[in-house]
């Protein structure tokens, strides 16, 4: 028994170490690939300049701003919707309607991203163009809306799981005191499912930041700094995809590693911030 336990402990410890090392290796690899650009001393220019290769300027600021806008808006849109859906599934109707909705959400996770992209291009973009009568409709708004639909299943499933873990005795006590469904959600469920809700948010934010296809197909890919959510924008991932498809050894090409590094730092900062906030709240 002890031998089996030791084996299990070694296996799990190795898996954890491997994951940590892999994460650090990826960071090291990104730095290594960025070295040629870093050595030229162009890093400040790359982070702050506009993107204009014809004039020798390879700035990615517009892409950083585009990424932050699109992922943040998509999160803002999908968070309340996902919260409501999870509440419906787990608390209001855990019986047949809730189970059916959960099945639909699970199915949504299996739909390839490109399908969402098609829906975005041929349905959402024309609607946005018609409603706002502004530009082509390929905008931060369209990409954020589509991305919100893409990331909401992750959040809904995570939130539902964390709601399900709230001890039943708390829910019984609240019910017996005459709480309405919303009071139950805000006073008991959310405070006790906070960690799970935050983890779901972080994962969804990571997914929104890392998604390439939706942004590439719907956001319009403009390299100019956007001034409103109806403007086109390009995300870092879409930028990497576009450059890598057309080039392999120019300075333009080498800047994509800086893009990767920036993405890595942005998502890591997001996760660390979320973990810090959760710990502070739990304390």
């Amino acid at each position: 028994m002890l031998f089996k336990e030791n084996i299990a402990r070694i296996v799990f410890l190795s898996a954890s170490i491997l994951s940590a090392v892999a994460t650090l290796l990826i960071l090291g690899f990104m730095i290594l690939l960025s070295l040629p650009v870093l050595e030229t001393g162009m890093i400040w220019g790359i982070l702050t300049d506009p993107w204009s290769p014809d004039h020798g300027r390879f700035g990615i600021l517009a892409m950083i701003v585009g990424t932050v806008y699109i992922s943040s808006f998509s999160l803002l849109i999908s968070f309340p919707i996902s919260l409501g859906c999870s509440f419906f599934i787990q608390i209001i109707h855990p019986d047949s309607p809730g189970r059916f909705l959960k099945l639909l959400v699970q199915l949504m996770t299996a739909i390839p991203t490109v399908i969402y992209g098609f829906v975005g291009v041929f349905l959402l973009v024309p609607i946005v163009r018609k409603v706002f009568s502004y530009g082509s409709g390929m905008s931060i708004l369209s990409a954020s809306l589509m991305l919100a639909i893409l990331i909401s299943p992750t959040m809904i499933l995570f939130f539902s799981q964390s709601f399900a873990r709230v001890p039943k005795r708390f829910l019984d006590a609240t019910e017996a005191l005459g709480a309405t469904s919303f009071q139950k959600l805000f006073y008991v469920i959310l405070p006790n499912a906070w960690t799970g809700v935050f983890t779901g948010l972080v994962l969804a934010f990571g997914r929104a930041m890392g998604d390439t296809l939706i942004a590439l197909m719907i956001s319009g890919n403009s390299v100019v700094l956007p001034s409103s959510i109806l403007d086109s924008a390009r995300t870092l991932t879409a930028h990497i995809a576009m450059i890598i498809a057309a080039d392999f050894d120019s300075i333009e090409f080498k800047t994509i590693f800086i893009c990767g590094g920036v993405l890595y730092i942005m998502t890591s900062c997001g996760i660390l911030l979320a973990r810090f906030s959760v710990k502070k709240r739990v304390r």
Partner: protein, 235 residues
Amino acid sequence: MENNIKIQIRNLWFYYKTISMLEGINVDFPENTITSITGPSGQGKSSFLMTMNRLWQCIDGASVKGEVKINFGNGFEDINHQKYPLPMLRRKVGMVFQTPNPLPMSIFKNIAFPFKLIGEKNQNKTFEKVEYALKKAFLWQEVKNRLTEDAGVLSGGQQQRLCIARALVLEPQVLLLDEPTSSLDEISAEMIEQLLLKLKKKCTIILVSHYMDQVKRIADTKFILSNRQLTLQEE
């Protein structure tokens, strides 16, 4: 006699999925008395209690047929009527569970929680009521200097009295108790018995209990729930 009746139950059926747990129960519970319900485990005693505050609606697959009428001062009202407001019902019919279930918050916040639910903004009034409820539950002396501490640090007996205080804070007219002393030591159980005897002057109490000695000591009317039927237990 009709004037003294608080709860009137007629032809009550309780189903769990397709299985009937209670079959055609007819019973009246007099006002300001303690009525005990005993019987073997798994016969539906807790479910029966839940028919009086509609908490059965939280049980997946449960359904109820029949009339449960309670006189809250304006004549008998059928609480199973769809339009009867649930939050209001549960504020008038308090419930205490077998296992103490304080919420993960401070002692004060636990007792003040029902006030938060009804949107009471007056802090002074809330504090007065919390103090009153804790005194009523014989808990004030033990916790008056630790109101901001987490309720989870209290002993089992204290937690159960806290739950009783929380159920009492909105001054319910009916109090349902589902084996409230089963997880407590003798001294704590005795304290709760004394508390119930005092409470019955203002409240109609329905007590589910396994302890025959306890039932003999405090119950005015005794019923046995067995084979899906409720029968009056003669002295």
